[in-house]
């Protein structure tokens, strides 16, 4: 599904963000990406979304080499990856329904499909009754659930969540995690960058830890931190 082979990324200003990254994420996995701020989590996500090109190595997405693609092909790659951000990024002048249907309109979906899919994903994130509310009428958790609905409405095989619970209180964060788990159970591969220790520890999923641009740990059913001797 996602494969990095010997990937290096050095920014133009000389900062080495990632070194020798080898990573394989299989279809249907739920992977946590952890590590301190500035470790390279965001860079890794940017490489998948084609916001940045790697300096060295190869990147594959859905068995397709996306290391170097023409600019005009990038939108079509992004259609196979849903994204959720820490800051939600909803359009304030559109209702919940419109915020989600917008993602389908952009790719020219049939109105019939829009009318079918939008209510479906809204019920998946438990927001059917808020379909006609505007973002300012929603809570933080509801904001993020709209963002998730928007990310999955075009049924991408991969969902990337960049600190999706970062702005939410613990209880709300758990609500979001339940939604993400449900989406994962339906077959969507999920890669989630996070700092939320208790969530990672409780979910018992694969954990990939990055530090200073290097993968320092990759374990099944992992926890947020390696046991520290003497702790």
């Amino acid at each position: 599904m996602i494969r990095f082979v010997n990937v290096n990324k050095e920014y133009k200003n000389g900062v080495k963000a990632l070194s020798n990254i080898n990573l394989f994420i299989d279809k249907g996995e739920f992977v946590f990406l952890v590590g301190p701020s500035g470790a390279g989590k965001s860079t890794l996500i940017k490489l998948i979304l084609k916001e940045e090109n790697p300096t060295e190595g190869r990147i594959y997405l859905n068995n397709r080499d996306i290391t170097y693609v023409k600019n005009r092909k990038i939108p079509y790659i992004r259609r196979s990856v849903g994204v959720v951000f820490q800051d939600f990024r909803l359009l304030p002048n559109k209702t919940v329904y419109e915020n989600v249907s917008f993602a389908m309109e952009i790719i020219g979906a049939h109105p019939k499909d829009i009318r079918r899919n939008v209510p479906m994903v809204l019920s998946m994130v438990d927001l059917s009754d808020k379909a006609h509310n505007y973002p300012h009428e929603l809570s933080g958790g509801e904001h993020q659930r709209v963002a998730i609905a928007r990310a999955i409405v075009n049924s991408p095989p991969i969902l990337i969540a960049d600190e999706p619970t970062g702005n939410l209180d613990p209880e709300t964060a758990w609500g979001i995690m339940k939604v993400l788990r449900d989406i994962n159970r339906r077959g969507t591969t999920i890669l989630m960058a996070t700092h939320a220790k208790d969530i990672v520890d409780a979910m018992k999923r694969r954990v990939v830890e990055i530090e200073k641009g290097v993968i320092v740990r990759d374990e099944e059913k992992g926890v947020y931190e390696h046991e520290i001797p003497g702790y």
Partner: protein
């Protein structure tokens, strides 16, 4: 196919929305385009009319006038006529006596012709009018007879025509410079207007990119918006130029300037070209302005 159609429909819808959202700056854009096009129109009319004058002058003045002394004899006149006729550059030679000349002048003065009745003596000379095949032969024909008996003065209008051509070149080049500068200013104003829409829709554009909207889809509405500003400006300036020029033309022909309006391009002959040029330029500036403003934004 129908997917493409829906995408185009969305782009158009967003374009019109942007047009409405930016009414204020849009007015500035439309005004600047209108101003450029109206000025362009004025130059166009000037240049075309001057061209008319040059062409007409060339035709009218492809002759040499030989003013003769009053005491000239018939044989002397004949001698000059024969000399001139030898040249293959000459079409015809006509003798006009001083009485004929005065009579013609009275006619051309029309109602005021009676004023000439008060003259005690006729001040006009006998004239030989030599029609040439082309004005550029005037010099050599004049030289061939200038030393003959009975000639007072030889007059031709080579220099007038040269001056006219020079003058119309100045007007054309000046117009080109002024219009180019104004075109640049308009592109700048439009691109700034479109930037407002771009900024207003920054989040939306960002989200669009992550959801996989193509650059064309993102750029489309802004190009439409710019194009619409350009077209509105073009339509307004077409109206201004056509009504304005029509009014001016009629007013000028009604009153005393008939001689002058002869040289003006008739409004009807002009309008079709003006419409095509204005719409093309208006749409061009609009689209260019919006592309300029978007360039920086799409590199993500």
């Amino acid at each position: 196919m129908s997917m493409r159609f829906r995408v185009i429909k969305n782009i158009l819808k967003q374009g019109f929305k942007g047009l409405w959202r930016n009414k204020g700056m849009g007015l500035a854009s439309v005004t600047s385009i209108t101003a450029v096009l109206v000025i362009l129109g004025i130059f166009l009319i000037l240049i075309l009319s001057l061209n008319n004058v040059v062409m007409d002058t060339r035709e009218k003045f492809d002759e040499v006038q030989v003013f003769l002394e009053d005491e000239i004899t018939a044989s002397q006149i004949e001698e000059i006529e024969n000399r001139v006729k030898e040249s293959d550059k000459v079409i015809s030679v006509i003798f006009k006596s001083k009485d004929q000349a005065l009579e013609e002048m009275k006619k051309s003065w029309g109602d005021e012709g009676y004023l000439l009745n008060g003259l005690e003596t006729n001040p006009l000379p006998h004239t030989l009018i030599i029609k040439l095949k082309d004005i550029e032969y005037a010099d050599s024909v004049a030289k061939s007879i200038e030393n003959m008996e009975g000639i007072e003065e030889i007059q031709y209008n080579q220099d007038i025509i040269e001056k006219l051509v020079l003058f119309s070149n100045y007007i054309r080049n000046g117009g080109l410079v002024v219009v180019s500068i104004l075109l640049l200013v308009s592109v700048f104003i439009i691109s700034n207007t479109i930037k407002l829409t771009v900024t207003a829709r920054k989040t939306e554009i960002n989200i669009m990119k992550y959801v996989g909207a193509t650059n064309g889809y993102i750029r489309g509405p802004f190009v439409i918006e710019g194009l619409l500003f350009g077209l509105i400006g073009a339509v307004i300036s077409i109206l201004i130029v056509s009504y304005g020029y029509n009014y001016f033309f009629n007013a000028a022909s009604d009153k005393l300037y008939v001689l002058f309006t002869v040289y003006l391009v008739p409004p009807k002959a002009l309008m079709k070209d003006v419409m095509i040029i204005f719409i093309a330029i208006g749409a061009g500036i609009g689209a260019l302005g919006s592309l300029v403003s978007m360039k920086r934004f799409l590199n993500v």
